[in-house]
Symmetry: C2
Subunit: 425 residues, 2 copies
């Protein structure tokens, strides 16, 4: 009887944590405990309380004891009972006391500027919801049970296989599933390679690391926090000046689309940087952050294809799909695979395994290709509209770096920067 | 004309990266380039090539040039053309050369032992696929566009609100959404609190940190890698011996269900550790790794409820739902919120935003409660079967720590350990 009560309650109930103690019977203790939970704000106004049977079974008291306690608190005004909607905490009950704390700044997108021109942010209105949901459903329904247990830190093999084929076909990357490690994105990859904030050991690679002049500030900060010394590599119209590389142990490049100037790395320099790596025993970290988005017909494959043993190729879905899907990949020279896996941990502690399976399905079925190509058209026409608008309204502004990617470089005439920024804000 | 070609190709095509160079016309260059891509293994056997129009548009060559090149390579046996399935890389074409590299060890679950008795691993066959998919669908369909842009490092407010209500109701946690930070799980939380592997700064808290004797090895390793000195806190039948706390700055506890011995922290010691924290200005890190799974009726609420300004409460879905969903939460004293957010980064770089919205829906609709209660029943009956089997077949083995959680402690008679381990493997 009691057992069947429990089972019934288990099936229907919601959890409510209460401790029955102090003077008086269990009914009095329960009333005291519930009243305190509401007064203290632990149970927020509107919170639905569990059914009598459920709570009675949990606390090991008679069902009537719970019914009486609820009735008493309804009478006191702490709870309200409405036919059908069960017993709830009264709306006018005191909520959790509010702190003086100033609310944190809203998330970036929530500020809602009239025109959001921040670089590298994909069109959030174009996420392929239907196709992604279809892949997620298939992935979830077809997943073997072991998917829901501890995960392989390398990432799901289904995704590593899909990426091997896709990256070879679309980006000229030469690899195999065993040399790919899934991560949460480029920042995670940098942490795995160069150690975590705090400096010293932990990373797979050692500094000093050459980075392209300008480049992304947050990468430099992340590396600095990891205690990695960075050496700026100057740029010219052909991209990073490889001939300036010296005793550095590694170089971080954006060969497909230099950030921020926007040009591809000159073919001669692509060869030169591989020669440097071979001669010096150095390694190239290739940040392929938006390699899919080229608007002319000049293909720019991955430098990785030139020498898979000298290049660590890093990509993610943050630009191609959305930063809301926290997935990226590292294509590694064989000698780094085990160290990167060791840095990542015994089990998958980062990338959602269900999202990994979903992306594998999304790529294998061609949905990723279709989305990338659709977005390439959209971004190209955006680029054209921007160029046309600038030509019409600001012919004195030079536009560069628009053959690819999600940003453009505008050279303002001398002395107009401050007024331009002012007008934009 | 050409433009419309492009648009058509963009819509239908798949990406294929090729570079046309070298002697001869474009047709010869294309054939050379394709043959090399197949021979070099960059295009795997079975890979489907893009339609003529698509590739022609991408490369800026005539459609017939592509058709001729495909035909030539089909004749050479590199490609195969079948009605309906388009042109593919021939199956017998040479695959990517295999390396001598020994394949890495398979993921933990894939080893497939007859009985998987590793502690703390939820029943992978019980993942609520249908209910989770329903929540994921609703989350994806109802998500405002900004969800697909850069995310708030605190995590989605929808999830923090759902957790505020759930943790208050089910675990006795007193907090508000502004004091919750979403992360990828407990290991991520430890890294955010104590700094990343590499030691030195980066963390929000400083050592020395008292940890329960025994405890989880990988936590100690993670802390050691972060340069945090840990001091073991002895245990007895009432749990961690709080009176042994001294000059430590923080203590890591599992009050609801001590790992591994399995008992709850004695009520007097719960009060004592809060007194210690107040007196010493110390902080308690409460690891509520499986607090939902208690099989008797004695409730054990969170220590956090005793003093929200002295306790950092950390939980995750790894035990309650699955480690495949990489989501956890930190309930923080007000003074730590901004530092933890700073340690996490400018934007959400870790937890999948879609999974966050899905979990928010899953909790708000009561699916999480229902799943936890269903699993509690299942684990309880498992626990009972285990106890019965041991009583029947190994009456000399003492079983403890089975009032809660996903593991039991068996005390083997002296001198039988080695033979038992041997028999189990």
């Amino acid at each position: 009887m009691d057992g069947s009560w429990v089972n019934y309650a288990e099936r229907i109930g919601a959890d409510l944590h209460l401790e029955l103690s102090g003077p008086g019977g269990r009914r009095a203790a329960l009333i005291r405990s519930l009243r305190e939970a509401v007064r203290g704000g632990r149970l927020a106004p509107g919170t639905r309380l569990p059914p009598y049977r459920s709570l009675a079974a949990d606390l090991g008291v008679a069902r009537n004891t719970v019914a009486d306690a609820y009735a008493e608190l309804v009478a006191e005004g702490w709870l309200t009972a409405r036919q059908g909607s069960g017993t709830r905490v009264a709306e006018r009950a005191e909520p959790l006391r509010h702190t003086a704390r100033v609310p944190r700044k809203a998330p970036p997108r929530a500020r809602g500027p009239r025109h959001d021109l921040r670089q590298g942010t994909p069109d959030a209105s174009s996420f392929p919801r239907a196709a992604w949901l279809a892949s997620y459903r298939r992935a979830l329904q077809q997943a073997p049970n072991e998917v829901f247990g501890p995960g392989d830190p390398a990432g799901r093999v289904e995704l590593r296989e899909a990426l091997t084929e896709y990256l070879a076909r679309a980006r000229g990357v030469r690899t195999e599933p065993d040399r790919i490690v899934i991560c949460s994105g480029f920042a995670h990859a940098l942490r795995l390679l160069f150690g975590q904030a705090g400096g010293g050991g932990g990373g797979v690679l050692r500094g000093p690391l050459a980075v392209e002049a300008y480049g992304l500030g947050f990468h430099r900060e992340l590396l600095a926090a990891a205690g990695v010394r960075t050496v700026p590599l100057p740029l010219d119209e052909h991209g990073a000046r490889i001939e300036r590389l010296g005793r550095e142990r590694a170089v971080l490049l954006t060969p497909a689309h230099q950030f921020p100037t926007g040009g591809p790395l000159d073919p001669a320099r692509r060869a030169a940087v591989v020669d440097w790596a071979r001669a010096r025993g150095g390694v190239i970290v290739e940040d392929d952050y938006d390699g899919e988005f080229r608007y002319d017909r000049k293909p720019v494959g991955a430098v990785q294809g030139l020498d898979p043993e000298r290049v660590i190729f890093v990509g993610s879905v943050s630009k191609s799909l959305s930063p809301a899907v926290r997935l990226g990949w590292m294509v590694l020279p064989e000698r780094y695979v085990d160290d990167v896996l060791a840095a990542k941990g015994e089990r998958e502690a980062w990338a959602s395994v269900l999202d990994q399976l979903s992306l594998a399905d999304f790529i294998s079925r061609g949905s990723y290709d279709r989305h990338v190509r659709r977005m390439r058209q959209r971004y190209r026409s955006r680029r054209d509209r921007l160029a046309a608008a600038l030509a019409a309204h600001a012919p004195h502004v030079e536009v560069t770096g628009v053959a690819a990617g999600l940003h453009a470089v505008l050279r303002l005439p001398p002395g107009t920067e401050r007024s331009t920024v002012k007008a934009a804000t």
